[in-house]
């Protein structure tokens, strides 16, 4: 194999961007929750697995393609997140970080154990789509292409909601100054419910997409939460756009490293990248958002 063949470089770039888009979708949700309420959600990757196993069940028992199961899974997990915020997470907002870490870690343990009871620790997969799309010399696997494009679309949709929509602006206002937002007429608790619901829905959508590509078990969350943390630190804590860039960057770097060396190294890439970015820009690529 000619290493610097432009076709191979392009191929690695595209597959890296597609994988990175999925990371970005996952990490943006984590960062949104942190940015709005200063809560680090340790159950974020388990919410992703809720999406993955839902896609698995819907495919296995109803033959539903994951792309269509999104329509069911995303709203369902949105409402789960919305009410989880109301009954649990709201109680730890504004508390010391340890309280929210413990609360969300509890949720994560509960979800993992429900998963183990229902599905055992065996790996599952959703082989709904096979084959590749060819562009000249470049071959992109179909499930990866679909997952990557849908992830980009969903991430951008949430981004533009936050930037442009009246309600989305209220989410940013609550992130910056909750008391002043309240006095503007914004029901801050409802905004936080909406925020956690959106983040959970983003995680679940990432899970559905992931199910098309990888095999997964109830304990697969650890890997993903670690990468997500690396991404939000690389991009800037609490900064939504930062997580988008961070996710794409990690996907591309991982892709090149895996392409040019052993995949052992690819596992460590997230942390090497993290160290490299922090050495150059201690607040991450896009800067830490909403610091008072």
């Amino acid at each position: 194999m000619e290493l610097l063949d432009p076709a191979i470089l392009l191929q690695l770039l595209i597959s890296g961007l597609l994988a990175g888009a999925l990371y970005a979708l996952l990490a943006c949700g984590l960062n949104l929750v942190f940015g709005v309420m200063r809560v680090i959600n340790l159950a974020h990757a388990e919410l992703m697995l809720v999406g993955a196993f839902s896609a698995y069940l819907l495919y296995r028992f109803f033959g539903l393609h994951p792309v269509f199961s999104l329509v069911i899974v995303v709203p369902a997990v949105f409402f789960f997140g919305y009410y989880l915020q109301r009954v649990l997470i709201e109680r730890v907002v504004g508390q010391p970080l340890l309280s929210s870490l413990l609360a969300t870690y509890g949720v994560s343990i509960i979800l993992v154990n429900i998963g183990l009871l229902l599905f055992s620790a065996d790996y599952k997969s959703v082989p709904a789509m096979q084959g590749s799309i060819l562009f000249g010399e470049i071959a992109i696997s179909k499930p990866r292409a679909v997952a990557g494009l849908i992830s980009v679309a969903l991430t951008l949709a949430i981004y533009f909601f936050l930037e442009r929509a009246h309600l989305g602006k209220a989410v940013r206002a609550v992130a910056e100054q909750p008391q002043v937002a309240a006095i503007c007429g914004i029901d801050v608790r409802r905004i936080r419910m909406l925020t956690f619901g959106m983040a959970a829905a983003m995680a679940a959508a990432a899970g559905v997409m992931l199910a098309m590509i990888y095999s997964f078990s109830p304990i697969s969350g650890a890997d993903f939460i670690q990468k997500s943390f690396a991404i939000i630190i690389i991009g800037g804590m609490g900064n939504f756009a930062g997580a988008l860039y961070g996710g794409l960057l990690l996907g591309v770097v991982e892709s090149y490293v895996a392409g040019f060396s052993s995949s052992q190294w690819a596992e460590a890439v997230a942390y090497l990248l993290l160290v490299a970015v922090l050495l150059i820009r201690p607040t991450g690529l896009k800067g830490t958002a909403y610091v008072k």
């Binding site: 009246h166 602006k169 209220a170 940013r172 206002a173 910056e176 100054q177 008391q179 002043v180 937002a181 309240a182 006095i183 503007c184 007429g185 914004i186 029901d187 801050v188 958002a289 909403y290």
Partner: protein, 238 residues
Amino acid sequence: MPSLLSIRGLEVAYGAVQVLFGVNLEVQTGEIVAIIGPNGAGKSTVIKAVVGLAAVQQGQIVFDGREIANLPAHIMPALGIGYVPQGRIVFAQMTVTDNLEMGAFLQKDSVKRRQAVQQVFEQFPRLYERRHQPAGKLSGGEQQMLAIGRALMMNPRLVILDEPSLGLSPKYVDVIFDQLLALKQQGRTLLMVEQNAARALELSDRGYALELGHNRFADSGEKLLANPDVRRMYLGGA
């Protein structure tokens, strides 16, 4: 005529520390009322209790005939109360226009929202020039204008301002007092806390002097300004 705002026997504590011990205060429609007092007297706390940002232990707060003590802050714009917090707090990462739009969060009609933004721009042309900039990039005086404009977005019947001139350069202190005068001439009802007590009382119909969470003096602005005790204790001298 019943008062627009009537506070009776207000008691507020932060945790175990009580800071207000039965404060009374009235605001009539069309009046400008000033609260003065030394640092830590509880001036901001009175205001925060009114707008739902501090929990009321005892006493009544009646606005327009309705008991509003301990109602959540987010219904204040719907009641007709606008609030300018101490320290010119703006949404620093959002544009000037978006900050104003947030002031009319409850107005779901975007056309009406934009009209309200235009009205604020007419009153504060400086904000219009900077409408696309993040609020964090504005000078202190501009941020205070923005905070006032945001509080006006729902056309409130009572505007409550906490130290609107605090920490501003002398030039902007003048600008802000000019704006307060303009609001008065528009017939708005204002309740304000000011450390610039002399200027605030000149502008005000009535004033209240607080000390350690108690009412100390209450009178018309002129009489307070003429009162030697008030001059000595609150206006820094003879």
